[in-house]
């Protein structure tokens, strides 16, 4: 009996680094129009719909945030637009006990992992509801409750940290997996080389994921590397790797699931290149028309991850246009009402300036805090 495509086992996505003559293959589950091109990963309907909900939410949230940035209501903003499948597909494939070290655009993963929108937006405003106490620019989202560590703007820094966390989890005999995200630019950093190498030498249970969005601010990927692909860099480190359609959330989900189960069962680290595209500017601070051809953007818009997945869900009867419309309206309402609450809050109290530098403030900080209070007229 010939198995139907639906029942066929998914072939291994990860490629063996010892086969050095092998070309990196592009792994895809959905064509850009949402049509399945291969077997679907093992994912239940609730998870499928949750993935759609959060990809849609992040798209709407980013649209709203860019407007607010233009209105001067929030600071620097780095949108995830066009790259939602990476963080959401990854979050869906992980357990809540796993650790995520995001890069600039992957902090949204924590929303999928159950982090409420209001404290998330308080991190955007850096106000007194921000668990980070207003100490970082937005896009550095973190919270211990979801095992998400704040990213460094220096680029690549988080890669070795994620490898260390993975090593510690194995040392503690836990099955936790640690994930580090990076952009294509980060693959030029010393920390990329170091992190890939330490991960491989130690067999650390981690997944290092490059969101190749083709641009590092204004420099295209070809200005970062002459390798044919970023995925094949893993060959030199001896790490299993996959080159994945990063705008195909089911492909991301499948690849991360395989890498995670490999890590959990003692198989060590993997490297994934997710091919995606930064639809908007690098951040609210730049104008991409200066350095890139708008036709390239239009081409990538046709491969949009949110629309692709929506079409797949609707065309396979898992979702409907009416449900989608209702979802968008509900999400927009939630975003607007939560934003209103978050925006009303004030800054963190001045005393927090001197807190958390050390576990207990040493004499010099006590002195400085006191002098500051006196300058402020004794007010906290």
């Amino acid at each position: 009996m010939v198995a139907s495509p639906k029942e066929a086992p998914l072939p291994s996505i990860l490629q063996d680094p010892r086969r050095t003559n092998e070309e990196p293959k592009l792994f895809q589950v959905l064509a850009p129009d949402g049509t399945p091109v291969g077997p679907l990963p093992d994912i239940d309907l609730d998870t499928m719909l949750k993935v759609h909900r959060y990809m849609t939410m992040i798209r709407l949230l980013d649209d709203r945030m860019m407007i607010m940035q233009r209105q001067g209501r929030i600071g620097f903003y780095g949108a995830c637009t066009g790259q939602e499948a990476g963080p959401i597909g990854t979050a869906a494939a992980l357990r809540i006990t796993d650790w995520i070290y995001p890069a600039l655009r992957e902090g949204v993963a924590m929303l999928y992992r159950g982090y409420p929108l209001e404290p998330y937006l308080c991190q955007v405003f850096g106000n007194d509801g921000d668990v980070l106490k207003g100490r970082q620019m937005l896009s550095h989202y973190a919270d211990r409750s979801v095992n998400q560590v704040s990213w460094s703007s220096v680029i690549g820094t988080q890669i070795t940290q994620a490898v260390g966390t993975a090593w510690a989890a194995r040392y503690r005999k836990k099955s936790d997996v640690s994930v580090a995200f990076m952009g294509d630019g980060a693959t030029s950093s010393a920390e990329f080389h170091t992190g890939m190498n330490f991960a491989a030498v130690w067999g650390a249970p981690c997944i290092l994921i490059c969101q190749n969005n083709h641009w590092s601010i204004s420099v295209p990927t070809k200005g970062q590397t002459v390798s044919r692909t970023i995925a094949e860099k893993a060959v030199a480190y001896g790490l299993p790797y996959a080159r994945v359609d990063g705008n195909d959330v089911l492909a991301v989900y499948a690849a991360v699931s395989e890498a995670a189960s490999r890590a959990r069962s003692g198989g060590g680290a993997s490297f994934l290149e997710l091919l995606t595209y930064r639809i908007g500017a690098h951040s609210s601070s730049d104008d991409p028309r200066v350095y890139r051809d708008e036709r390239e953007v239009e081409e990538w818009k046709l491969k949009d991850p949110v629309e692709r997945y929506r079409k797949f869900l609707i065309s396979t009867g898992r979702w409907s246009e009416a449900q989608d419309q209702a979802l968008k309206e509900a999400l927009n309402q939630e975003i607007i009402s939560t934003l209103e609450r978050a925006e009303k809050r004030g800054p963190p109290p001045d005393r927090t300036l001197f807190e958390d530098v050390y576990a207990t403030p040493p004499w010099h900080l006590v002195e400085q805090a006191q002098a500051f209070r006196e300058e402020q007229g004794g007010e906290d």
Partner: protein
């Protein structure tokens, strides 16, 4: 009580900390089977296994970056950087990550760990095995900086550093690693961070030093005593947070002060120490404060004895300061 050198005292502290708490691991280049290039981790590999005396690939940024990830997960790593001169590839991980994690995470992600590294010259190590980078780390908010001068302090301070909730830079005086010997208890004891020691009480002037330079200062002070000069010698032990009360009380009493360090002079720790003293004891001073330091040059190879502020230079400064009519 057994006599130990500084290496043996450090080794003893590590063994005690690792036996007491399986969260404590040591990691770094050659710290495993080989026991470290100075042998500070000797025997730990055999006693605690390769995971707890962990050889790393050769990349300091990776040693500190991975140690941070371990600390965030709940371990208490003690990272060894083979020579302090090799620490700069890890500078970003130390200065912007390790030191700042508690603050920028709103207190959620402290990363308590110790970075042990041998500092200082006088071993014919040239530019890459002789530097004293303490000022960079004292300047970095969020770090504690410890610099023992003798075996007893090295062990007690290292055990306190491993217990400490904040990241600690533990700077070991490599020139006197084996030369400085003394009685050290076999078992555990702790010397609190942030407490200086008055090595020799005196009335004429205050001499402040730490690490290997403490021994040069001690020799100078001993010779000065023969010339009838009664100097008070202070070993800082912890550079930051500083034991400000001991320093200020001493200078208020003696009214004159010399700071000795082998790092270059400009923006060296001596600059900060003297500023703190002048902010608190300016009107007690009866002469200009003095620095005896390394020069503002790269660390030399052949002429390292000329570069280092050895006892004769310190003695000369003591005599000049004593003769200053004020």
């Amino acid at each position: 009580m057994p006599v130990m050198n500084i290496i043996e005292a450090v080794n003893s502290a590590l063994r005690i900390a690792m036996a007491a708490d399986d969260r404590v691991i040591v990691l770094g280049e050659d710290v495993g089977k080989f026991g470290g290039v100075f042998r500070a981790t000797k025997g730990l590999h055999e006693e605690f296994g390769p995971d707890r005396a962990l050889d790393t690939p050769l990349a300091e940024g990776g040693i500190i970056g991975t140690a941070i990830g371990m600390a965030l997960y709940g371990l208490r790593p003690v990272a060894e950087i083979q020579f302090a001169d090799f620490i700069y590839p890890a500078f970003d991980q130390i200065v912007s990550e390790l030191a700042k994690l508690r603050f920028r995470s709103g207190g959620q992600y402290p990363a308590p760990m110790v970075i042990r590294t041998p500092v200082g010259g006088g071993i014919k190590g040239g530019h890459y095995h002789s530097q004293s980078p303490e000022a960079y780390f004292i300047h970095t908010s969020g770090l504690k900086v410890v610099a023992p001068s003798n075996p007893y302090d090295a062990k007690g301070l290292l055990l306190s550093s491993i217990d400490d909730p904040d990241p600690v830079m533990f700077l070991e005086p490599k020139r006197v690693y084996r030369a400085a010997k003394g009685e050290v208890p076999e078992g555990a004891y702790r010397i609190p961070l942030g407490k200086a020691e008055i090595v020799r009480p005196g009335q004429t002037m205050t001499v402040i030093a730490w690490g290997a330079m403490l021994h040069e200062a001690k020799e100078a002070v001993t010779q000065a005593e023969k010339a009838g000069l009664d100097c008070e010698l202070i070993d800082l032990r912890t550079l930051w947070p500083l034991d400000i009360d001991t320093i200020v009380a001493s200078v208020q009493k003696t009214t004159r002060v010399i700071v000795v360090h082998e790092a270059p002079r400009t923006c060296g720790y001596g600059a900060e120490l003297l500023t703190l003293i002048m902010e608190r004891a300016f009107y007690h001073l009866t002469a200009q404060p003095v620095r005896v330091t390394g020069f503002d040059t790269p660390f030399p190879y052949t002429l390292e004895d000329e570069y280092l502020p050895r006892a004769p230079r310190i003695l000369n400064a003591i005599q000049k300061l004593a003769a200053d009519p004020g």
